[in-house]
Amino acid sequence: MAEREQKKRPTPRESQEQIDETPAASEEGEKLKSELDDLLDEIDEVLETNAEDFVKSYIQKGGQ
């Protein structure tokens, strides 16, 4: 499959934005979005209360 047709070759920055802006337009997308909404409600409840302090406190010694 070396001759596999090359898709558009965006730069990483462009591509990231492209993914960011992909709209959830289809029906499946809508369903996904509503599931995600429920999930985000739940996550707001379990997320570490002070995110900044938590991130600062998460220090590990280097390992292998």
Binding site: S15, Q16, I19, T22, L47
Partner: protein, 499 residues
Amino acid sequence: MAIPKTIGVETEYGILIRGTDESNPIAASSLLINAYLNADREGPAPRVGWDFEDESPGMDQRGFAPVGSMPPEVETHLVNAVLTNGARYYVDHAHPEISTPECTNAHDVVLFDRAAELIAIKSMIAADQVLPDEQSLVVYKNNSDGKGNSYGCHENYLVDRQTPFSDIVTHATAHFITRQIFTGSGKVGVEAPGLTSDEVPFQVTQRADFFEEEVGLETTLKRPIINTRDEPHADAQKYRRLHVIVGDANMSQVSTYLKVGTTAIILALIEDDFLPRQFVFDAPVRAMREVSYDLTVAEPLPMADGTRMSALEVQWEFLEQSRKYVEERGTEHVGGDVAVDVLDRWEHVLGALEDDPMQLADQLDWVAKYRLLQSFKERHGVNWDDAKLRALDIQYHDLRPYKCLFNKLDVATIVDDADATVAMLSPPDDTRAYFRGECLKRWPEQIVAANWDSMVFDIGDEPLRRVPMMEPTRGTRAHVGNLLEECDEAAELLEKLGN
């Protein structure tokens, strides 16, 4: 010539001590493991220690130890236990680490990796019972603290000693660089020197930032893509153990399954000299990072021959050759029927990555995490450098079931938790781990030490007896199941083994 793959995974977990300002991760890791070993018992559990007799982590696959290279230290004074499922549970470099028992296929590796997570969860609960009320230990299955400190999830594959190491270096490097598109666990920001999170707000892997060399012996500094540690834990005349340090620790079982399953197959292709061409990246260390920073997985990278190829293209070609290999030579050396399923899932994942990676939010870690963070970011109108997104990133890997964000994402699984619960205590049937685990179940008081390739028995007045296990595929249920059933005492077993 390809040999059947014996495979294991070793995971160093992140650990956090909550409710105190004191931070001693070595003591915390020891406490965690001791709490697990003593759980469900009255009084301390019998301790079967690790036997360091045959450890030589300074040996190099290339047959020399380079001046100035630093082999890892062997820390004998820390907790170091062997479990009845054949696994090792110990403190390594200030982290709790669990090595799975030896397995023969990717499915079983996932099973025992999930069993290891369940062991870590049970350890946290047990630790809470011995700690003061306000304190607790939390274990994270990730590879980075986001501040430049990394800890590993290593894979081990037994390969034929006859295979030239340079062939392994060439082909495995290409696979390790490009397999990241499905093995990555995802990470907010970047920890490689000279880059900012404006340039890399989110990347595919946890580990790519930490690799600085192409080939080498180190595992804690100047980490190489190909690690040369030559310590087979088996007959060194016949075998190498390829010690793979580039992988992420995965929450997604599909990611672990593909990581291990595809690598086992590629190694058989290398042993049988089956690959028709080499994929040599012009700058492998840079390519590791470029692949990790490219969420499209389609960015072509410069190859040594002047052409350009994307990670996805190289993976398509590896898949095509792997299919051809299995058609022509069967699955004997690549994990049996599991390999057929690995090929199908591999193809599905590559197809979806090519079409739109976001389709894989219920399969792969990095996509699941990216979609979650992206949705959170939109809802709360925050930027990628917001602490909340970094907190979510870490909490994705929190092994406490009620806090673990991965758990809430409904990602596909490979194994049942009921089976993994059994695998917390029982070894796989089809490697020497069976003999190790079953002996430990039956005679824990009479085994003073064990390691990958031997067990040391103390049966009273006589000198200690060492039983060597230099063949990883011997000591299986088929070989020794009946023998173990016949023996009431360890002494009887040793007598029958002619030891």
